[in-house]
Structure formats: structure tokens, C-alpha cells
Symmetry: C2
Subunit: 143 residues, 2 copies
């Protein structure tokens, strides 16, 4: 369900964000990344491609992408922000056992109560925590 890299490049152009080498790399990594990487994971992975990459650049880039609406910061964890490229039409589930963060398909746009129509909602996040099927079956086996 991810957008293609070329489509993302076009989005950058449309928003008049210059397509620097580093920004394209961060975007490409988010594009091919299955999970929801942290800033540090992005930094460590891209460092192999760009030896001079700075962590500040990763944070700067993520902030630019977030402000432009192309990337969403997920606050499902206590001391780490994860980043998601997908359009915000789903929730997130964090497994407390293995730590994986998965997508949960659902219509999060329809959640805000209509009765509160005097509020302007810019962003909606739905976060679940629990145990994923893999870890659940593992627990049963170990009994």
C-alpha cells in the first residue's frame, strides 16, 4: 500500500522542497522499509550508503517531511518516535513481547465525534498495545 518512490519524488517537487541527495535517500529508505523505523534506525542504515551522514540531517529531513505531510510521526512508544510513510488511514499495534509495530487497517477519519464539530482536527492516531499472534503461539508452546 506504499506509494512508489517516483510518486514521492514528485510530491517533493510539488511542495517546492529541494530534492537533495540525503532527502531522497531518507525517502527511499522509508519507501522500501516494511516496518516503522526510528530516526536512529534510519541513520544507521543510511550511514552505510552515505558515510558522512549526520544524525541531525536525518532529524531535519524527517521534520521537513513531516511538516509537508508526507511522513507521520508515531508516538506509540515512550522514548522513541517512529516514522511512517503510508497515508494515515490506519492505526498501529505494538507487540509488547517482540516490539514489532504493525499496521491496523481501519477508518480513523470517522472516529472524531460529530457532536464536537467546533473542534478542528488536524491529526488522528490510534495506537494499540498487546501481543501479536506470533508471540501468542510462542507462549502457548512454552507451556
Amino acid at each position: 500500500m506504499k506509494l512508489s518512490f517516483d510518486a514521492l519524488k514528485q510530491q517533493l517537487k510539488d511542495r517546492e522542497i529541494s530534492l537533495s541527495h540525503q532527502r531522497l535517500k531518507v525517502l527511499a529508505f522509508l519507501c522500501r522499509s516494511r516496518g516503522h523505523p526510528t530516526a536512529d534506525e534510519i541513520y544507521l542504515a543510511l550511514r552505510e550508503e552515505i558515510a558522512t551522514l549526520s544524525k541531525t540531517t536525518v532529524y531535519n529531513t524527517l521534520r521537513v517531511l513531516e511538516e509537508s505531510g508526507m511522513v507521520q510521526a508515531i508516538g506509540i512508544e515512550d522514548h522513541e518516535t517512529r516514522f511512517d510513510l503510508s497515508p494515515p488511514d490506519h492505526g498501529h499495534f505494538k507487540c509488547l513481547s517482540c516490539g514489532t509495530v504493525s499496521d491496523v487497517p481501519m477508518d480513523i477519519q470517522a472516529l472524531f465525534p460529530e457532536a464536537m464539530n467546533h473542534w478542528r482536527v488536524d491529526e488522528t492516531q490510534v495506537n494499540f498495545k498487546g501481543i501479536c499472534p506470533d508471540c501468542l503461539s510462542g507462549e502457548e508452546e512454552s507451556k
Copy 2:
């Protein structure tokens, strides 16, 4: 819709958590607090009553209360955890203008997709961000 302080004290007893002076004070503060205070706000407020209060104690207490299920940690902000005493039958809304965090009544228990019945869900959080009515009307006036 908050629980009474006495009911909370009884909950502590039921869970075999000793009712130390500091823990009762933290609980009482959460009880009479309208908003969703941060650990630091709790610390600063209670410091006037307990001069020797340590920040570590506040964090320890909040962790005990959270693990017992009496308090919920809200991760709606980037670098600050807020704490909520109320039962988890509502979402939260953070105003990006004034920073207030409000309750949003809704049935968050029914959110998880039935199709994912192999997942064990322990916790659900729904976080909205946007502009509250007060700030919206303020913006209009300033035009």
C-alpha cells in the same frame, strides 16, 4: 466522571499496594486535577505540601499506579508523558495552539477490527491533534 479519592484508596488496598503518604498525595492530586498533568507538574505541585518530595518518588509512584492499571500514561506529546486517572473509555485531544489536553468521549473498546481476533489487545489509545474551539474563535477575532 472521576472516581472518588476514597474509592481509589480502596483500590490500592485491594491490589495490596501499601498506602504510603507520598502515594496517597499523588493519587489525591490526580483525583482533584482537571487536566492531564505531567510528572513534573505533579512534582512541582506536591512539593509545596511535601518539602522533601523527590522526583524519583513521583516517577516510581506513577509506575506502580500504571502497572496496577489505576493510571494511564498518555503519549500524545512528543517528549512528555501525561497521566490520566479516569477509566480508559475516551480519547484525548491536544490543542496545538494552547497545549491543553482534553478528553474526547468515545467507545475506544470497540475499535479493534474483529478480523484480527488472533491479536491480544491490552491497551488502546486514540489521540487527536488540532485546534480547540477557544483558540479557533480567538483566531477569527484577530483577523
